[in-house]
Symmetry: C2
Subunit: 283 residues, 2 copies
Amino acid sequence: MNNIYAIGIGLIGGSLAIDIKKHNPDVVIHGISRKDSTLETALSLNLIDKKATLDDLAHADLVIVSIPVDATVKLLPTILDKISDNALVVDAGSTKEAICKAVESHPRRRNFLAMHPIAGTEHSGPTAAIEGLFKGKTNIVCEVEKTTFKLQEKALKLFTGIGMRIRYMNPIAHDKHIAYVSHLSHISSFMLGKTVIEKERNERDIFDMAGSGFASTVRLAKSSPEMWTPIFKQNKENVIETLEEYILNLTHFKELMKENNFEAIFDEMKDTNHIKDILNGIS
Amino acid sequence: MNNIYAIGIGLIGGSLAIDIKKHNPDVVIHGISRKDSTLETALSLNLIDKKATLDDLAHADLVIVSIPVDATVKLLPTILDKISDNALVVDAGSTKEAICKAVESHPRRRNFLAMHPIAGTEHSGPTAAIEGLFKGKTNIVCEVEKTTFKLQEKALKLFTGIGMRIRYMNPIAHDKHIAYVSHLSHISSFMLGKTVIEKERNERDIFDMAGSGFASTVRLAKSSPEMWTPIFKQNKENVIETLEEYILNLTHFKELMKENNFEAIFDEMKDTNHIKDILNGIS
């Protein structure tokens, strides 16, 4: 695993590059990006050692793809075309079904491992990359049986080496569950931000009143639309389902308020309080 | 201001007691609570110096009321009945119209200052009290003109002394704005938690997949129903309005997804991204 090619060097790709280099000082990290300015920033931040292009991929031992999921679907077959027979390709996308489908019949399917490291912040781009982002976090691996065993082992060693717990799951279950615990949170946050911004013309006035609770709830509304639009597109059916349930629950809460049924309002909150126990250990 | 009586010694009352004592070592903090166990905990945590009852209020220089807002509305006239002519009473409630109305005709109205310190965490009770909670935070003061000038000055000195910025506002505007930047966030968080919990029977399974983004968005769902039910009740009309707009925005987002209008989805997120600039300095 001496030559690692990072395609996409933003928050995820850049943070992976930092941790992998830290735990494996001998590797050379080659950066590939559509934009040369991203590569220059990544070089200046020491996220990557060298600039590269897709045509260099024949020299790769490992290719890490951390780009918007629509770009991954398009580019992944080309990447597999270009690598050597012993190289491993992993992706870090937030959807898994479309990505696995995009390469299901590729002759080098066994060189690919579909992953979703559950880690991030609301920031994006190479300047958002941080050390230790993946420590203690879960890395969901899909269709592990479709990857050559030796390459599975290499990936396992690399990602547990930077502190991740590996969890195996099929892509359909992944996309369904992640819609609830990640994709819906982003929409609830974006629409909360929109609702408050729309209402308050004189922003300085109102946001003086906002505390850490609002900041926490609306934090994900800072996320990159470039990353998130294709995620919602690829996971459309699941995300719509979560949105429908969320809207029903909000509407029910509103109706209880209109009916002055504050006992039921109390119970709604009390019943949800046990999220405390569930969340222990996540944040 | 030597004798301070704290009625309610939870997250807010307890944290105020810590900071006030730290900046004014000579004061004696007397704790009053419905539950003796709360007072014992507060004593053992050094939040208060002595236990007291409402009948001791004649000795108070300052009374700080940090209890659920329905209890404040009920108790405030009695508190004003019991204090001496030179004492100041402040409350820390998250609603202001009903509280101001409850004492508008009280003969000691000029001894009362209505406040809302915009600070807190999702935890509650005396064990949730922390040092420095109010540093750099906003304290909204309502109907300041109805309070004796000398008592205004004392309050200003005390609360700026623990690091707060004072902002003046009328109670109706307060309740309208705070519905957007605080009350709605709590409901969006509670209903997000409910939606995810309901869906996922096997909780351990799903919540392994939850990351810091979900944890942040759902954090407020740990909040106390005892505190929040009366807030929603007192601010019913404003909260329902915010909920209606939030539900409309979510429904619109869902419809755009159903229509495969992902350009508009992108724009929705892009337009909300400037929450970044607005939030700078809040959290």
